[in-house]
């Protein structure tokens, strides 16, 4: 396999034009930390963004940053932190879950629409993303959006490219709006609640005016490598120190019917949310398959119960109950039938985030779509990549 690492957009366009002429599919990659997600491909060659490095624009007073796609997240985050700012969507660190090493790239984060716990308040990666440049499957350089926060000029490919896993274009540069890092964060923790009570507490808190920026429930017996732990229901508040103190007190009072609470402050809070963000409670044992299910928050426990009626599983909830992380034995269909049936009954969609390659070749990794939508997806793929050279089949057959 040849690995192409173009040093410019124009070189990337050349690589893709040649691939198109030769009908030779390309795998697209940054540093490969999420290469194990999706249906396995048969690309003969790989096109990586690692030759496209560097922050191209940073205006702290305008709260905007742009970087070439191969720039490492750690480098973007460091530059932002030096000015007291951050990406708000809290991209997870994939190493723990995927067993990969290397530093994920900013382009890979966009291609996966890779968002963490704060998604519930601040939006997903696609909501912070305000501009993209990419090379389509014809080898044409295309831009959409820009560097301003409000933009409704023409079709929004910024959103469309986010989460398209490289199947529509090879991202070359991405632009985000950013926000100041709040002065303080405190996590309010309730102990010992079962799933339904825990998620009910999360939903109640999310309906409060206190600006919850993280809402997760770790069920009885959860662990992240050590001893089984009692159930923990977590609510994060961020803001000025004055404001956070006030809101924590008010929220604690509101949640009194769910029992007493303790507080995690500063680094303790940051640590627990990094574990939630990175799906640590389902990362081990490594040989198990992992599903990520998005549903209406209050129905998270229904989905878990429905899956567990069919198959042994370990789970926890983020996004107020609306993001279910679930690990199950990787054998047979890795629990696909049980997961899809649960989602069909209770709504939402499920993605197989981790499984052996032969399982990913055999099951639907992404949520199968009803035919009118599946047809639109196939035709959109053709509108961007007529010869099917960009990650063909990574999401579904024909896409």
């Amino acid at each position: 396999m040849t690995v192409y690492a173009p040093a410019s957009e124009a070189e990337a366009a050349d690589v893709i034009r040649q691939a198109q002429a030769a009908h030779s599919p390309l795998a697209l990659a940054g540093s490969g930390t999420k290469a194990g997600i999706g249906r396995p491909g048969n690309a003969g060659h790989c096109l990586t963004s690692l030759g496209l490095q560097g922050i191209t624009l940073y205006e702290p007073s305008e709260m905007v940053i742009a970087a070439r796609a191969g720039t490492r997240l750690v480098d973007v985050a460091r530059v932002l932190a030096a000015r007291g700012q951050r990406l708000t969507f809290e991209p997870p660190e994939p190493a723990l879950l995927m067993g990969t090493d290397g530093e994920q790239t900013i382009g890979g984060i966009v291609a996966a629409n890779w968002s963490g716990p704060r998604r519930i308040m601040a939006g997903a990666c696609r909501d912070s993303l305000i501009g993209v440049r990419f090379v389509n499957g014809r080898g044409e350089i295309v831009k959409s959006g820009g560097r301003v926060m409000k933009n409704v000029t023409g079709l929004d490919f910024v959103k469309l490219l986010a989460g398209s896993w490289g199947t529509l274009g090879f991202l070359t540069e991405v632009t985000f709006k950013v926000l100041p890092v709040p002065e303080a964060e405190i996590t309010l923790a309730l102990a010992g609640l079962d799933d339904r009570r825990g998620v009910a507490a999360l939903c109640d808190a999310m309906g409060s005016p206190y600006g919850v920026s993280g809402a997760a429930h770790l069920p009885e017996g959860w662990h992240d490598g050590g001893q089984p732990q009692p159930a923990l229901t977590l609510l994060r508040l961020e803001g000025s120190a004055f404001s956070v103190r006030h809101r924590v007190a008010a929220l604690g009072e509101r949640l009194a019917p769910f029992g007493g609470h303790s507080l995690l402050e500063g680094d303790d809070s940051r640590l627990v949310w990094s574990r939630v963000r990175d799906a640590a409670p389902v990362a081990e044992p490594r040989e198990r398959a992992v599903w990520r299910i998005s549903a209406a928050p209050a129905r998270g426990p229904d989905i878990v119960a429905a899956v567990k009626a069919q198959r042994e599983a370990i789970h926890f909830y983020d996004w107020s109950g609306g993001l279910v992380w679930l690990s199950t034995p990787a054998g047979e269909d890795a629990g696909e039938k049980a997961v899809r049936a649960a989602v069909a009954q209770h709504g939402g969609h499920a993605t197989l985030m981790r499984a052996p390659v032969e399982v990913r070749a055999a099951v639907s990794v992404f949520q199968p779509q009803p035919e009118p939508l599946a047809r639109l997806s196939r035709e959109l793929k053709r509108a961007f990549d007529p010869e099917g050279v960009l990650e063909p089949g990574r999401m579904t057959a024909g896409v």
Binding site: P60, S61, E62, M63, V64, N113, A124, D127, E140, I141, V142, K143, R147, V148, M149, K150, N151, V152, T153, G154, L155, D156, F157, V158, K159, L160, A162, G163, S164, P180, V181, C203, G207, P209, S240, S243, H246, R247, A250, S294, A296, A298, R299, G322, G347, G348, F366, Q367, Q369, P370, P372, L373, L376, S377, L380, R382, A383, F384, T396, V399
Partner: protein
């Protein structure tokens, strides 16, 4: 004569008018079809009222099925469709064509379901923006995007134009608050995208659809995110002797890590016209004014307003006034939200909508004043300062020969200026017909062709709102 061109109507369609009316009458309820000239005339324009075209027919369906039947028929017959919400588009997004059927969603305005635990509301798409917030207010919730036209504009129109509002600095625009839609495709197929969960499966079709100006399909139902209201909110007015100082103050507030829920700017002419209308207590001697709103508990509001006030004091403000009551807050916002109406009392105007990097503010305001002066026109500036979304109102007199053309020329120069400094043609009003011919200034051929190829997936024959967004020359159809 105004300068925006429309495609030549299809004579074959015009000739079949009566037959088409008869066909439509068989597809929809009698009260859903409008054919008389007087009644069709009511749909000839939108808020870009300098342009008027009476449509072939108007259909106001009561259900998705009715809308789908009409679209399937029009698709078969090659008849153009122009979707319409409340017709408040400032960019001409809802202006019909003589050979088009308008499908208006105004009769579909029910709230279908509100789910407070999951914080979603499912509504028919003809409901007004404000009605959603009113529906959920008693439970302490609201729908966040708040365009100035929110009393009249529909959620269908908001989705088509990805509408924003004064509070999107904190809460985002329509695309950030939309979770699912029921969409009728041009061939009459009904699809559901997304739902009451976050991040719809597969490609982000919801993101593609939002802001597509009704060119990809007709939205008949929407699931939107509702949010708990803040405990309280209070605006602060700051008057300055120049726009430059006001702009510097905005930068300083944001640099201090403070993100107010709203950060609105008005220049001297806008202040005086709005004050005359709304009696909001605006500082009429100022050349620039900021409305800064913060949210939270009473203590949090006090704390944050004090910080903002301290920053503002370093810019020698002419006036600082913190709202002392709910009535005063409402009056302050009334002045801002009625700005377009107030302006309409004294002059005809074109409302521009470019977005610029906020660092370019002083330069752009100076150039806007010059461009308008060169064309012999007045201008008032109102905009969302936190996000750089400008609304210069170019004042003209429709009765004065050549004035509208001069205003359009000045508008085009201003929008090109926005692009030149790194911004875009439209932040929240959409391209419509108004900025259609400027698209080549922001996008090159490859950019536009890719957009048209994606568009063709949904509407291969350019039947859906076809006069809009893309320049009339060089259009790509199906592959």
């Amino acid at each position: 004569m105004a300068s925006i061109a429309f495609p030549e109507p299809d004579p074959a369609i015009l000739a079949r008018r009566e037959a088409i009316w008869a066909d439509l009458a068989r597809l929809v309820a009698p009260d859903a079809l409008i054919t008389s000239e007087d009644e069709r005339r009511a749909f000839e324009t939108d808020a870009l009222a300098a342009y008027r075209q009476v449509p072939l027919a108007v259909v106001l369906p009561s259900s998705t099925e009715e809308a789908a039947a009409v679209m399937a028929y029009c698709n078969r017959e090659g008849i153009k469709i122009v979707p319409r919400g409340a017709g408040t588009s400032l960019a001409g997004g809802a202006i019909p064509a003589p050979d088009s059927v308008v499908i208006g969603v105004s009769k579909m305005r029910r709230v279908l379901d509100v789910d407070y635990a999951n914080r979603t509301a499912r509504v028919e798409a003809g409901i007004t923006n404000l009605a959603i917030s009113q529906e959920v207010a008693a439970e302490g919730f609201f729908y966040a995007p708040d365009p100035s036209s929110q009393l009249a504009c529909t959620i269908a129109g908001n989705i088509a134009m990805n509408s924003g509002g004064a509070h999107c600095l904190k809460y985002g625009v329509t695309t950030n608050n939309l979770m699912g839609v029921k969409l009728v495709l041009m061939d009459g197929t009904v699809v559901e995208i997304g739902g009451d969960h976050l991040d719809a499966a597969g490609y982000d079709l919801l993101g593609l659809l939002t802001g597509a100006e009704g060119q990809l399909g007709l939205v008949t139902e929407a699931t939107v995110r509702i949010l708990p209201m803040a405990e309280g909110a209070r605006p602060l007015l700051i008057g300055f002797s120049s726009s430059e100082t006001a702009g510097a103050c905005v930068t300083a507030i944001i640099a201090a890590g403070i993100i107010p829920v709203a950060l609105e700017f008005m220049d001297g002419p806008a202040i005086r016209i709005c004050e005359d209308f709304a009696k909001a207590g605006y500082p009429t001697g100022a050349e620039a004014m900021l409305i800064v709103e913060v949210e939270g508990s009473e203590e949090e509001i006090e704390d944050e307003l004090a910080k903002i006030e301290a920053i503002a004091r370093t810019f020698d403000p002419l006036a600082i006034r913190v709202s002392q009551s709910a009535a005063e807050s409402a009056a302050i916002w009334k002045g801002r939200k009625s700005a377009f109406g107030a302006m309409g009392r004294i002059a005809d105007y074109l409302c521009m909508d470019g977005t610029i990097p906020t660092g370019q503010l002083s330069l752009v305001l100076r150039r806007i004043a010059e461009i308008c002066a060169e064309n012999g026109l007045g201008v008032a500036n109102i905009f969302h300062a936190g996000d750089g979304n400008l609304h210069p109102l170019i004042l003209y007199d429709v009765a004065k020969p050549g004035d509208l053309e001069r205003a359009e020329k000045a508008g085009a120069e201003i929008l090109k200026l926005c692009v030149d400094v790194g911004g875009c043609l439209t932040g929240e009003h959409g391209v419509g017909i108004e900025k259609r011919d400027l698209m080549t200034y922001q996008y090159n051929r490859a950019d536009l062709e890719q957009q048209m190829r994606a568009r063709a997936v949904f509407d291969p024959r350019w039947l859906l709102n076809p006069a809009k967004v893309f320049p009339l020359d060089g259009r790509l159809t199906a592959q």
